[in-house]
């Protein structure tokens, strides 16, 4: 029986079915669904019985609290702050430990390379470039993600997360997007690549794309150390008392700014290039359940943490080699890195940064974690990624290279708004299957970052404040 005959009779029968469907006043599909449910009801009636009177509903009690008019939002905010605080504080010690151990091993590697008599440049590319960059990414990326993702998964398993979407949907409705986008943004706090993958929970392709394109405006774990360090030095540090609180407020302000930009851009996309059917929401609010902690930790580590780390390393390793080469190959008196930074300087100055900062962001494409190390490396001309021993040391480096408060604010703004990291771009491509949309996901934040910094810088200069 050949395919041709099959398809021919298929369309014939199809047409016959069409005719039958059209000849009917009511929709068959609706009727079919209703009939199936009637069967289900009939069966359930015979087997299900409810014991006891109106039960005290735990779900209702909790929901009365977390979705209430007065307590709903504050509780959400509290939860967000709590998760952040645990992630950031909790990651400090493991990060330091990993860094110490991995860099100690680097010294061992150096010894081996010397022992086998490898040329300096090989050692440079492989050890100072590939290994050091990868070690950095692991040390800075792994601990926060190993805390954040389990916490997030715990919230997910407990049944609380859909309540966030429930509370925030009205805001997203105004932006012509779906309330579930709030959940993808929450995931984006951990890692934007994971946030992009999380957009699968949004059914409508149009709304899913909007969520993917704007996920980057939520700062990921990788950007927090940079933001916190700069805030501590230039803002909190400038005001002696309550510096911790000031820092927290500034960071919160930045995050709110990111959320605001997300909503505005979502709205703009909805009325321009992503116009389409109106958004809708069908959100199931499951019962609250006690999550199984062991299973949660295991699953989130394998499915999310290690998965993202693997993807990041695949990009970071070769990038490390490139960075070392750029920083150590000299053209004339300067390394290629400096030559490029010099060329970028006019553009950098225009937006309140300098060429080296811009270069650091560009080279930080593989992972946001390495932007600050590249910056320090460049300012100190050490030719290999560099850490800072204390905030004071970092302040000295930055200030002696011309940083002002305006520079600091612009750097934070740029970090918040700039292009997505390579892992996120890769993930965007995998999820959308389209080079065009991946490029747009790169273009939109870039344009916004440059524009925002430019406007701020020019206004401040015009006002004679800097």
């Amino acid at each position: 029986m050949c395919a041709m005959t099959l398809t021919k009779s298929l369309s014939e029968v199809w047409c016959e079915a069409e005719a039958v469907r059209k000849s009917h006043p009511h929709s068959f599909s609706d009727q079919i669904v209703a009939d199936i449910y009637e069967n289900a009801e009939e069966i359930t009636k015979h087997v299900l019985s409810k014991k006891g009177s109106q039960r005290i509903n735990i779900d209702q009690t909790i929901d009365n609290l977390v979705t209430s008019k007065w307590l709903g939002y504050p509780l959400m905010l509290l939860l967000l702050v709590g998760v952040f605080w645990i992630t950031i504080e909790g990651a400090n010690i493991p990060s330091a430990f990993l860094a110490t151990w991995l860099f100690a091993f680097q010294d061992q590697l150096t010894l081996w390379f010397q022992w086998i008599g490898a040329p300096a440049w090989v050692h440079g590319v492989l050890v100072l470039g590939v290994y050091r960059t990868s070690a950095w990414v692991i040390a800075v990326m792994l601990p926060p993600m190993a805390i954040f993702f389990p916490l997030f998964t715990l919230l997910e398993d407990s049944g609380y997360l859909p309540r966030i979407a429930f509370n925030l949907d009205h805001i997203f409705k105004k932006a012509k997007a779906c309330g579930k986008q709030s959940l993808t943004m929450c995931m984006g706090f951990g890692c934007n690549a994971a946030g992009v993958t999380a957009c699968r929970i949004i059914d409508s392709p149009r709304e899913r794309l909007i969520a993917i394109l704007t996920n980057n405006f939520v700062p990921c774990n990788g950007r927090f150390p940079t933001l916190i360090a700069i805030t501590s030095i230039f803002i909190g540090g400038a005001i002696a008392s309550y510096s911790g609180l000031i820092n927290a407020l500034v960071i919160s302000g930045l995050i709110l700014l990111g959320v605001a930009v997300t909503l505005i851009v979502s709205w703009l996309l909805s009325i321009t290039i992503l116009k389409g059917e109106p958004s809708s929401l069908i959100l199931e609010l499951p019962s609250y359940r006690r999550p199984k902690i062991g299973a949660v930790i295991y699953r989130s580590m394998i499915d999310r943490t290690l998965f993202v780390l693997r993807r990041a390393l695949i990009v970071a390793a070769p990038a490390g080699a490139v960075i070392w080469i750029l920083a150590n190959i000299y053209v004339g008196e300067q390394s290629i890195l400096f030559t490029m930074a010099h060329a970028l300087n006019p553009l950098g100055q225009l937006i309140g940064l300098d060429g080296i900062i811009l270069m650091a962001f560009i080279l930080g494409l593989p992972a946001n974690e390495i932007v600050l190390p590249i910056l320090i490396m460049s300012y100190l001309s050490t030719g290999a990624l560099q850490d800072f021993a204390s905030l004071d040391e970092l302040r000295n480096i930055l200030v002696s290279n011309g940083w002002t408060l305006l520079t600091a604010i612009n750097v934070m703004l740029f970090s918040l708004l700039h292009w997505p990291c390579a892992t996120t771009l890769l993930t965007t491509y995998k999820e959308t299957g389209s080079k065009k949309w991946t490029f747009i996901s790169f273009l939109i934040p870039t344009v916004i970052a440059f524009t925002a910094c430019f406007i701020l810088t020019q206004v401040v200069r015009l006002l004679g404040l800097a």
Partner: protein, 88 residues
């Protein structure tokens, strides 16, 4: 049990009251999803709560809590039952 033959949009239902679905004016994917969840004519639906800003609203239908936006709920017609004592 006497039904009052008042047909309202679901969106007008206030928290605590129970109604019976009469018809759906929705279309497209939204319609299919709603039907697949069992929100078909003849089903009992109870309004549970409104969101902190009034929208969306959570409804209990077939032992499942589902949140819908008011403009979508407005396109579902329900018949008020004379007593709210039904367990949904």
């Amino acid at each position: 049990m006497k039904d009052t033959e008042k047909i309202d949009p679901l969106a007008d239902l206030s928290p605590g009251s129970v109604c019976e679905i009469v018809s759906l004016e929705l279309s497209g994917l939204l319609r299919r999803r709603i039907l697949d969840l069992g929100i078909v004519p003849g089903t009992l639906i109870r309004c549970i709560r409104r969101g902190p800003s009034g929208d969306p609203t959570a409804y209990m239908v077939r032992e499942t809590l589902i949140a819908l936006r008011s403009e979508d709920a407005a396109q579902i017609s329900v018949r008020t039952l004379s007593n709210g004592g039904e367990c949904v």
